[in-house]
Subunit: 488 residues, 2 copies
């Protein structure tokens, strides 16, 4: 053991501190759940007992529309007979400004998604390698190692990787609580800022995700205004991650920070920047279209130079330029995507409601923020993890525990609902309903007894197929359900 | 002025040190020459007096082969009727391991390009955002801020951006000289290492580009062996940038560091890593296919996590997987590309030779290393820059001065020859020959008088079209020349 450990130290000595400090944050239940899925992925016929992936915020509901567009637009690709004449000029294009048509189309799309006449300047569109690369890029531009960004919690687990790992920047949580639906209050911002000051940490900015991941909620006008006035008072940056802008599926309408800025002459625009992406709104995470948009000329200038580390493939830029400049398609896609997301949200919250499980009321994102506080043995992070392990390993649903989102209150779970087809969704709902039903049977006075439940569950799971067949009534998802239609 | 400067300081205060330290290195004649081209780009009919771009190491000679392959393989793209069924699964694929077929195809291609039975393990293929992203990624893995990498000079100008800017790592030149054809000698390595030690700099590795950019030369077996023994003795990393591996167009054959490592049991493989890319070998810089390959498991593991910042678009991965696994096409492409590069090299060196301009003897890369020492007023960096300005602004050829490659001897220039069609090549050669001819006329005893030349040149350039029409004899590039054929 000693020599193995020496060997490890010896090897680590050869590598950088970044390589050996585990700052990538992959050792978290958020990613462990993904691994559990990868080891035993559910398939309706080949592996019906496998883990269902509800930990991945993917938007898979509208690929029929996209594939139809692809078929009708062969000239949009450089790899078709119709488009190959553009192959060479596209393949050799390496200007970090990006294809002008790409920047124009993305700027227009960003405006369209945000509505209300907000416009974006194509000359401020800077490419990053997905939102991961874009988030790191803007952090590198704005903050030095040791500086901090305030981040309202709960927040996206991989911010630890994206914003901190290689930049050396710290994240300082702004604690939001369920008592007021996790709103970002001025008071919470002030408390976080003061705490950082007291700890001698130089706060360089505030990072806000709107619509929120994991909450699925959007910020109202008043909150946005208070955020803008806060960052102006403190003279710190505001980075607004709006990568879920087009996932808002019901009223109230989404308000972009851009709308607030455009109506506020007192705001110092040099402080305001966006992260955007097509990974969620269009469902193309594989294409790595990340965008930094800044009102600050110096930042645009520097970010563009930095974008050399994560440019978008020109093959992809070329396709996206064409697709997003098709107004008719874009409008239809945005509408239909919202409709299908609304239906999913409605079904999942209704079914969960039937067994007494509430979700935070939300109208955006690709997930629900599920309240399982009542199922915890005690209101602790440990109890949350205990419950989470049962859900992942026994119920075989990979949902993500609130602790992985730095949520201050135990018992909340993010449940993704747009990364699967209707059959898988049905199977997942059956499992949740079955799980809660069994828990109720095993309920003990001092909350739910997870341990006693686990043995019951094992028994029930041994005959899980039969249970799944019987517990899910046809009324939940009839063949005429919009969910079933969405699949076609 | 004072208030403008304060305003600038005020703005800079808001940004990071990285954003304001100019470490991106764009303020160099290497990039200034690109800008001169961008402002006034040559076009044979629309702008025949514009700047010809010979500062861009692009490989444009074989796009006819690639376009032909594209036409014959519609299923290779997810944007064709034949391939669209793969669209969804490709667009949503975001696993940082990359598509298995992509890794396999790239590993196979890397082996094929290097010949001699060298094999690469697909599980060690890690994606980076182009070689720019890949170079930064491996540096982040291996070195801490303040650590240094030795780099034989002359070297690629943008290493200052790629290896230093955001990592905080230093580069320490290993001075190579024309007296022995810029060979990397053990003595030069030792001198650089000792100097770094004396300056209290922690040397963490050696970065070698093979084939060399800007020299176009390849490292011989003896040099490679001495490099491997050097890094083992010092226990520092070796990063071998082999992004020009397939551009070797004549004998002797290219020897990859992989071949040396595989035959050397005494080498500590944990110290050896590659940077690879398809930007030069295939001519796809826009596609941002950068690769890190390491024999060190820890580095592979960390680099893969880090690759989230610069993944290759899955649309591009999918295409490349298909293209590079077509053995027949790949072999034909590599052969034909070498043939066409060889022809270009032969023509350019022969024509330059006619007016007494020598290039360093080379057999790889997409450029010549042109010796204009005899044309300098005096052997200084200033004189080199003076000559360079004449070449860019008056002769209107964007070549890159040796100083931008950190070359220790003034008077060398990199001239790219594979990023243009034959007509442009002809026009460029005419201008060089004309330029040198005029210089000779204006020659003064103490070297060339650039100033007196400039006035002569202005006169001659006012009638430049006539000169270009007459000075270039048809024998240089006949319609039967392979160069002309390469265009079809």
């Amino acid at each position: 053991m000693g020599s193995a450990s020496n060997d490890q130290q010896h090897k680590n000595f050869l590598l950088s501190k970044i390589a050996t400090n585990h700052g990538h944050g992959e050792d978290s239940p958020y990613f462990d759940g993904w691994k559990a899925y990868d080891k035993n992925p559910f398939h309706p016929t080949n592996n019906p007992g496998g883990v269902i992936q509800m930990g991945l915020a993917e938007n898979q509901l509208c690929f029929d529309l996209i594939e139809d567009w692809i078929r009708r637009n062969p000239q949009a690709s450089i790899c078709t007979t119709e488009g190959v004449k553009e192959f060479k000029d596209t393949a050799i294009f390496q200007d970090y400004h990006g294809l002008p048509a790409f920047r124009q189309a993305v700027a227009k799309f960003m405006g369209k998604v945000r509505g209300c006449g907000v416009t974006f300047d194509p000359n401020r569109i800077v490419m990053g390698g997905g939102s991961t690369g874009a988030s790191e890029l803007i952090t590198f531009c704005l903050a030095d190692p040791g500086d901090a960004f305030l981040v309202p919690s709960p927040y996206y687990p991989a911010f630890d990787r994206d914003l901190k790992w290689r930049t050396g920047v710290q994240l300082f949580p702004v604690i939001c609580e369920s008592s007021n639906d996790f709103k970002i209050t001025k008071a919470a911002l002030e408390v976080a800022y003061q705490k950082a000051q007291e700890a001698n940490i130089n706060v360089k900015g505030l990072m806000v995700t709107n619509p929120s991941n994991p909450l699925g909620t959007i910020l109202d006008r008043e909150t946005l205004q208070s955020i803008v006035s806060f960052i102006n008072e403190k003279r710190i940056h505001l980075v607004c991650d709006e990568i879920y802008a087009a996932t808002v599926f019901s009223n109230p309408k989404f308000i972009s920070i851009a709308e607030i800025i455009e109506g506020d002459d007192t705001c110092n625009r040099d402080l305001v920047h966006f992260v955007y992406s097509l990974s969620k709104d269009m469902g193309f995470p594989g294409f790595r279209v990340g965008i930094v948009y800044s009102y600050n000329d110096e930042v645009v200038n520097c970010a563009r130079k930095m974008s050399s580390f994560g440019l978008v493939s020109t093959q992809t830029q070329h396709l996206i330029a064409s697709m997003l400049s098709d107004d008719e398609f874009v409008e239809r896609f945005i509408d239909e995507s919202a409709n299908r997301l609304a239906t999913r949200y409605k079904v999942i919250t209704r079914e969960l409601g039937k067994v007494g499980i509430e979700c935070l009321k939300s109208n955006g994102g690709l997930f629900c923020w599920m309240d399982l506080r009542k199922l915890l043995k005690e209101p602790t992070a440990e109890a949350e993890m205990e419950l989470w392990r049962v859900i992942v390993h026994d119920v075989k649903l990979n949902v993500s525990p609130g602790s992985s989102f730095h949520c201050s209150e135990p018992g909340w779970f993010r449940v993704c609902f747009a990364n699967m087809d209707d059959e898988t969704m049905e199977a997942a709902l059956k499992r949740i309903l079955n799980f809660v039903g069994k828990l109720r049977e095993a309920e003990v006075p001092s909350g739910i007894g997870i341990k006693s439940f686990k043995s019951n569950l094992r028994l029930s799971l041994s005959s899980s197929r039969r249970i799944e067949e019987t517990i899910m009534s046809p009324c939940i998802l009839s063949p005429r359900s919009p969910l079933v239609k969405a699949k076609t």
